[in-house]
């Protein structure tokens, strides 16, 4: 490979500087602080600090609440990712078939993505909160024992739907792009050979958009892991009885409500390891498959 050469020796560094600075300030500095804090035991005001080594980590990993939070997070993330992707694919294939007003239809579909997580959460809360929600009232009128304030599975359903609803637009965009990149000739040839639309979809379209689907699965899982704090805080605040307390929400509760800074920092270090692993998977497998598509 020929070496790209810049005539100016300083210019490339200058061009890189803003990005490096942003990463330093917003990632490396807080991350190093979290690492440092995770080996300390400290009171809220920072009056007494004690080095405790890895005991924060061992305390977390042996805490049944942390393990159940891990399980909650997995259930929440997988459900959210699937629920955000399946309808998006359905809508994207439907959008392909729209003849008139395609642009308008797509714009409407993309809209929810612009809604902030906390707002999306409140929206669903207002509809389904047992004390004031319109839909909650209707559900009860039909004899459904709807009470997400006490029933953990219903609370989980509510946050999953709210989180997925917001993400459908994003997935829709990617699926539309993936569907458009499939050569018409392939689909038409199959049609001439007598394959029905269902068969065409499962044997041609679906395998060809598989790399996109895999990419979206990773992105959606990361989203459900880390970007749904606002929704959970607004809708259930982790309750009832910890039924919707995800790992990220637990970091917040332990750090900012319970003021256990060391334990909270240790949890965020574990989370950091998880993100790094997920990102590595994404680079290793997804990027490679993109060439195939």
């Amino acid at each position: 490979m020929p070496k790209a050469a810049f005539p100016n020796k300083i210019l490339p560094y200058l061009l890189l500087a803003p990005q490096v600075l942003v990463t330093l300030v917003f990632f490396y500095w807080p991350a190093s602080q979290a690492l440092y804090q995770s080996v300390l035991k400290e009171d809220a005001f920072g009056l007494k600090t004690e080095f405790v080594g890895l005991s924060n980590f061992s305390a977390i990993l042996s805490n049944p609440n942390y393990l159940s939070s891990l399980q909650t997070t997995l259930i929440f993330s997988v459900s959210t990712a699937l629920l955000a992707m399946a309808p998006a694919l359905l809508l994207a294939t439907a959008a392909e078939k729209v003849v008139r007003g395609k642009g308008f239809y797509r714009t409407l579909m993309i809209w929810p993505y612009a809604v902030a997580p906390a707002v999306a959460g409140l929206l669903w809360l207002f509809m389904f909160n047992p004390t004031m929600g319109t839909f909650a009232y209707m559900l009860r009128a039909y004899g459904v024992a709807w009470d997400p304030l006490l029933k953990g599975d219903q609370a989980m359903l509510l946050v999953v739907v709210a989180a997925a609803w917001k993400q459908i637009s994003y997935n829709f965009l990617f699926f539309v792009a993936a569907l458009q990149s499939i050569p018409r000739s392939l689909v038409e040839a199959a049609a001439i050979d007598g394959a029905g639309s269902t068969k065409r979809f499962w044997t041609i379209v679906f395998p060809l958009i598989a790399p996109t689907s895999f990419f979206l699965l990773v992105v959606n899982t990361v989203y459900a892991f880390f970007d749904t704090f606002g929704i959970i805080d607004a809708v259930t605040a982790g309750g009832p009885a910890r039924a919707t307390e995800t790992l990220v929400y637990k970091v917040y509760i332990d750090g900012f409500v319970n003021l256990d800074l060391g334990g909270s920092a240790a949890q965020s270090v574990i989370l950091m390891a998880i993100v790094i692993a997920l990102t590595a998977i994404q680079f290793r497998y997804v990027e490679r498959k993109v060439h195939y598509a």
Partner: protein, 434 residues
């Protein structure tokens, strides 16, 4: 920001040049968590104080919810930039008390300002809650409230209950609630906000039973929760049974249940006296009663404990600043100011004089029920079970309790199982926090 910087630079230059106290105004930040009408009260108090004198300037800054305000204060202290005054909610009291060196007791601040701190002038129930075991007042009670019973008179009428005499004991409340539901007067009989504050902490004080060892944590040292004693188990099992039949409805961990009462869905509510404003605004035909007690408890009703918030003063400030804070607190405790605060906001008066003044003015005759929360708190001298609850991590313990109450109300656990689990988890968290 730039102006403050310039000003402080100016002050610095002046003090260096003349080596004499600067003539500039001393600015004192007051961080608070008051919204809506209560925020207007804060702004007006600061404005009136600033207009009355020219040496000090109180600058109120809204910092979000109670926990957010507390966190902002802690972060500011760690960054060595704390405000002079910070409003901290009741459950944050233990957190602040543990931070010796970070805060300066209000009694000392007042004395530094040349005022004598006289305990007897303040309402005993409130002042003991914000004091150290040796009696030193640590923070200045700003907004105090106490839980009371609200009932919907129209629903009572329909259910054939006595409209003028609300039930006084828990057993009577539960019976009335069943009657409301069974008669179809309302879809739900009874609901309550704050199961932790009302049904656990105040339940203990009001029935004169210990919440935990060590004077409910006030005496310091080792603390073990006692909330799985038979009297609590019976009480919560009764609520769980009502919940199973739909007679009791759960609204949430804080004050969400108020909505169930305001919408007419539930006929009876126990809530903070501070919630009165919303009840009045809803225009419903309501009545007020004192917090119910358990008639099987000896000596009940004892006295209730205050909720709300108090003002804390950070340590490490200059003498000049402490003098200013003392002036401001002295202003706040003046009888006309206190009386007005109490009558307009529904908070309890902090001083005896303000209470007497309000009584003399005939306010309670015109507004029946408004004296109830004060009488509840002042009725008897507090015992070691009823001075209050103070744990280093009360917010966390409340969460652990709420978790179990939710599992119990959902029918997953009996009251005994839930309370045993709350005690076990709570004790472990307390040990961890000490």
């Amino acid at each position: 920001m730039i102006r403050t910087l310039l000003m402080s630079a100016g002050v610095l230059a002046a003090s260096v040049a003349f080596a004499a106290p600067a003539l500039a105004q001393t600015e004192l930040q007051w961080w608070h968590a008051m919204t809506g009408a209560n925020n207007d009260v804060v702004e007006r108090l600061a404005k009136e104080f600033n207009e009355k004198q020219s040496e000090y300037k109180i600058v109120p800054v809204f910092k979000g919810t109670y926990p957010e305000t507390l966190n902002a204060g802690i972060a500011a202290f760690r960054a060595r930039q704390p405000p002079a005054i910070i409003q901290v909610f009741d459950v944050g009291t233990g957190v602040m008390m543990q931070a010796e060196g970070a805060v300066k007791p209000v009694a000392e601040v007042l004395e530094a300002g040349g005022y004598i701190f006289d305990r007897s002038q303040y309402l005993p129930g409130i002042v003991s809650y914000y004091s150290k075991p040796d009696g030193t007042m640590l923070s200045f009670p700003y907004n105090s409230s106490s839980p009371i019973l609200y009932y919907n008179k129209d629903v009572f009428q329909k259910a054939g209950l006595d409209v003028d005499n609300p039930p006084k004991t828990w057993a009577a409340v539960f019976e009335a609630a069943r009657k409301i539901k069974d008669s179809g007067a309302a879809p739900c009989g009874y609901t309550s906000t704050w199961l932790t504050w009302i049904h656990t902490e105040n339940f203990a004080a009001w029935n004169n039973v210990p919440y935990s060892t060590g004077e409910n944590g006030l005496a310091g040292g080792e603390v073990e929760l006692k909330i799985n004693a038979p009297i609590y188990v019976q009480h919560f099992q009764a609520i769980a049974d009502l919940a199973k039949d739909g007679v009791f409805r759960y609204g949430g961990r804080t004050s969400e249940a108020k909505q169930l009462f305001l919408s007419g869905e539930c006929g009876i509510l126990t809530e903070s006296s501070g919630g009165l404003g919303d009840v009045v605004k809803s225009g419903m035909n309501y009545g007020i009663g004192q917090l119910p007690y358990d008639e099987t408890a000896e000596g009940a009703p004892q006295n209730t404990i205050p909720g709300g918030a108090s003002l804390w003063v950070f340590g490490g400030k200059s003498d000049e600043e402490y003098k200013g804070v003392a002036e401001f607190f002295n202003y706040l405790s003046q009888t006309p100011v206190q009386a007005r605060l109490h009558q307009e906001s529904g908070y309890l008066p902090v001083t005896m004089a303000a209470y007497e003044e309000t009584k003399k003015s005939g306010f309670y005759d015109k507004n029946p029920g408004r004296e109830t929360p004060i009488l509840q708190m002042m009725g008897k001298a507090p015992t070691e079970n009823s001075k209050g609850v103070r744990l280093p991590n009360l917010p966390q313990v409340r969460d652990l309790e709420n978790e179990q109450y939710e599992a119990m109300l959902a029918g997953q656990k009996t009251a005994q199982q839930a309370l045993d689990a709350a005690v076990e988890a709570g004790n472990a968290a307390i040990v961890e926090a000490q």
